[in-house]
């Protein structure tokens, strides 16, 4: 392995602030923008978490005593919107995508650096607008789905502010998606083939295709919804001859792919982390790539499985059930590929690896309930109950958020040049894993027994299970404390990491920590085998190797 050595050509100075001030500037450096996304997203995660805490506090008793019912509706709407649009989507896409993708394609920056900065700076105002609506006139009350006629009949101002901020966030997402597609397809360094790219590039390419194809549909739909609210048109208003089911179709045409927009990048990130800490090549690279693309295609044609109780005709139910069940195939391929990557590896059980393993466990549970929910007879039984809440959180928290934490532990040395405290990291992981499963596991039971979601009051027979769930939520809140202490304390006092503390092969590690402004002093390295662990260089042709070769060579 040769790493390019510096011919000491420093990059030309640029008219931008240096030091910590650059994180508050309109910087066009992809690394600065990535960390801006990450920290901004984490602030919103704390806000969304506080909102979740309010929900779980209310639900410790079967009567509405902690807050008024309309406040409860606002809190759950804000919780959903903040967590999806301001935390998970910006962080798994914007934060890690901006930081890593230029490294992975061997570029100095994204294809459109200024558009990139614009995309980030749309987020803080949109988030502030959304949250201040609660203090001004009351936030939207119709959930993150904003289904009419509820969204037309609840107070209009909060709903309009909600629509405006989601439109801004959607615009940010589309600009980001365009940038990722252009960077991955057009900005690869000469000699780097598509099938040599680290898996996260493929995940981001698939995600960005979904973003570009589906987000505009949501934007158009929300514009029509705002006409219904402001101009009293009747697109989705049944009393004016409109059709609410059309809203649901258009909304889910975005919002089902949105689940993949949240989880495909997480697949990519975990595919980067596992090989490094198991010292094994990523198992089944080619099948991973094809499964990502299969998920992209299938993800666009399954949306109506959210609408089995909306009077969908039988042929539609049949089609969407079958299409949804098909998604289990590529997802299963990825799941078994991760297991095979771990199999026989020299696994170091550090925080990044533990969070990744937690992801695999949680995600397969969420996937199983997902396949169950795709079956019409079962779905009709549990539709709009806590079973759906449990399933969804197993995917987005147990899936995406676990991977976000794994990624922070994995890339923190690159971001800051310092190591995190592993003991605190393991404590964080244990608390999060126990708290998460204690919080959302029992909700399956609640849903199966008929507790509806999004209601502040419930049948007193569910009290004990709800209290157990709330204890889990409290544990998750507590688990954030060691993490916060760890990232702040280690940034100042952590042991110095060096360039490549994990001895990883992907290109972001082949430069200093933190990297220089244009990523590499001198030429960008050409990494042809980003997962060539455990074998002498050149002996293994990843594209041709069978599983057996990889397994035996990993030992």
């Amino acid at each position: 392995m040769t790493i390019s050595l510096p011919p000491e050509t420093s990059s030309p100075p640029r008219l931008q602030p240096s030091g910590w001030l650059r994180y508050f500037s309109f910087s066009v450096d992809h690394k600065v923008i990535g960390l801006q996304y990450l920290v901004c997203g984490f602030v919103f995660y704390l806000i969304g978490g506080a909102l979740a805490g309010a929900i779980r506090t209310e639900l410790t008793s079967p009567v509405s005593d902690f807050m008024a019912r309309d406040v409860y509706n606002q809190v759950l709407t804000l919780h959903g919107t903040v967590m999806i649009f301001l935390w998970i989507v910006p962080v798994v896409n914007g934060a890690f995508g901006n930081y890593l993708i230029p490294f992975y394609v061997g570029a100095r920056d994204m294809a459109f650096p200024r558009l990139n900065a614009v995309a980030f700076w749309l987020i803080p105002p949109a988030g502030l607008m959304l949250i201040t609506s609660y203090f001004l006139t009351g936030a939207a009350q119709s959930g993150w789905t904003a289904y009419p006629p509820l969204s037309i009949t609840t107070p209009a101002t909060g709903q309009i502010i909600w629509i405006l901020s989601v439109l801004l966030l959607g615009g940010s997402s589309i600009f980001g998606g365009i940038n990722f597609i252009a960077t991955i397809l057009k900005l690869r360094r000469p000699g780097l083939k598509l099938m040599q790219l680290p898996m996260y590039c493929w995940a981001m390419l698939g995600t960005s295709i979904l973003v570009v194809l589906s987000t505009p549909v949501l934007a158009g739909t929300l514009v029509l919804l705002s006409f219904d609210i402001v101009a009293h048109t009747g697109f989705f208003n049944p009393t004016l001859g409109g059709n609410v089911v059309v809203y649901q179709h258009l909304f889910w045409f975005y919002s089902h792919p949105a689940v993949y927009i949240m989880v495909l990048p997480a697949f990519g990130l975990v595919s980067e982390i596992l090989p490094v800490h198991a010292r094994k090549p990523l198992f089944g690279y080619v099948t991973m790539v094809y499964s990502i693309m299969a998920i992209v295609v299938l993800g666009l044609i399954v949306w109506a499985h959210h609408m089995f109780t909306s009077g969908t005709p039988p042929w539609m139910r049949l089609f969407f059930t079958i299409a949804t069940a098909f998604i289990a195939v590529p997802t299963g391929i990825k799941f078994f590929n991760w297991l095979a990557t771990l199999w026989g590896g020299r696994i170091s059980l550090n925080s990044a690896m533990l969070f990744s393993c937690g992801f695999i466990v949680n995600f397969v549970l969420g996937g199983i309930t997902g396949v169950a929910l795709a079956q019409v007879p079962f779905d009709i039984h549990v539709h709009d109950t806590y079973f759906v809440v449990a399933h969804f959180h197993y995917i987005v928290f147990g899936g995406s958020v676990f991977v976000i934490f794994a990624s922070v532990y994995h890339w923190y040395p690159k971001f800051t040049g310092r190591m995190l405290n592993e003991d605190l990291g393991r404590l964080h992981c244990a608390l999060t894993f126990i708290g998460f499963n204690l919080c959302f596991g029992p909700q399956h039971w609640l849903g199966l027994n008929g507790m509806p979601r999004r209601v502040a009051e419930y049948d007193p027979q569910f009290t004990l299970i709800n209290q157990i769930s709330s204890v889990g939520a409290l544990l998750m809140a507590i688990s954030t404390l060691p993490f916060l202490w760890n990232v702040i304390h280690s940034a100042l006092n952590g042991p110095v990491a060096g360039d490549n503390p994990w001895k990883a092969l992907t290109p972001e590690w082949l430069t200093s920590s933190p990297p220089p402004v244009e990523n590499w002093i001198g030429e960008a390295p050409l990494v042809e085998e980003p997962y060539g662990y455990g074998v002498p260089p050149g002996e293994l042709d990843l594209s041709a190797a069978s599983g057996r070769d990889l397994w035996s060579s990993g030992k």
């Binding site: 920056d109 194809l213 006409f227 059709n243 390295p525």
Partner: protein, 199 residues
């Protein structure tokens, strides 16, 4: 295996430098795919309404064809004139290029005027019924695109005033971008015309 191969100076430089590889047309094309999906959402809504929501009793939703056909012709001709402007700039003929750009913008504005005339002569208004609302939403959103496109064309016309300006025979990204956008807006109109007026 990691090897180091020198990369070309062009790839070497940063976004802020002149040598940053130019993928703006690719980015614009990707954006137009996204834009097309917004229209696809409107069209899908319209077609679904048509399939399942009957027109309420007494409601009027009648579209006359002559004016929209004129509009279609205006836009198709303007696409051709913009193409001629592109040919002219590649032959380094700024005068001819600017004439064609002005004609294109004029045709676009004629389209907008004609669309306005149609709006004011229609027997229904925005909130009269579902079809009326969808008609105004789709054509209005398209009209917004035509307005933007005409403005962009005029900006290019202004930028092309000097032979050494932003628009030259060798480097005419503003013109290329506006042209692609203009053809896109025309293409959307043809689909819109078929779905809203003919079906």
């Amino acid at each position: 295996m990691t090897t180091t191969v020198p990369i070309k100076e062009q790839e070497h430089s940063h976004g802020e430098h002149a040598g940053h590889p130019d993928h703006r047309m690719f980015g614009l094309a990707t954006f137009l795919v996204a834009d097309a999906m917004t229209f696809a959402g409107f069209f899908a809504a319209y077609l679904t309404f048509k399939a399942v929501n009957p027109l309420p009793d007494g409601a009027i939703y009648e579209l006359e064809l002559p004016l929209p056909i004129l509009n279609t012709v205006l836009l198709l001709v303007s696409s051709a004139t913009f193409h001629r402007a592109g040919q002219a700039i590649r032959q380094d003929d700024h005068g001819r290029c600017r004439r064609w750009l002005l004609i294109t913008a004029g045709l676009g504005m004629a389209f907008l005027v004609s669309q306005m005339v149609e709006y004011f002569t229609l027997p229904f208004g925005l909130t009269d019924n579902l079809y009326a609302s969808t008609f105004f939403a789709a054509t209005g959103f398209h009209g917004l695109h035509v307005t933007l496109g005409a403005l962009m064309t005029l900006i290019v016309w202004w930028q092309a005033r000097q032979p050494q300006g932003r628009v030259t025979a060798a480097d005419h990204f503003p013109l290329e971008a506006a042209e692609l956008y203009w053809h896109f807006v025309d293409g959307i109109w043809v689909i819109l015309f078929v779905i809203l007026y003919l079906l």
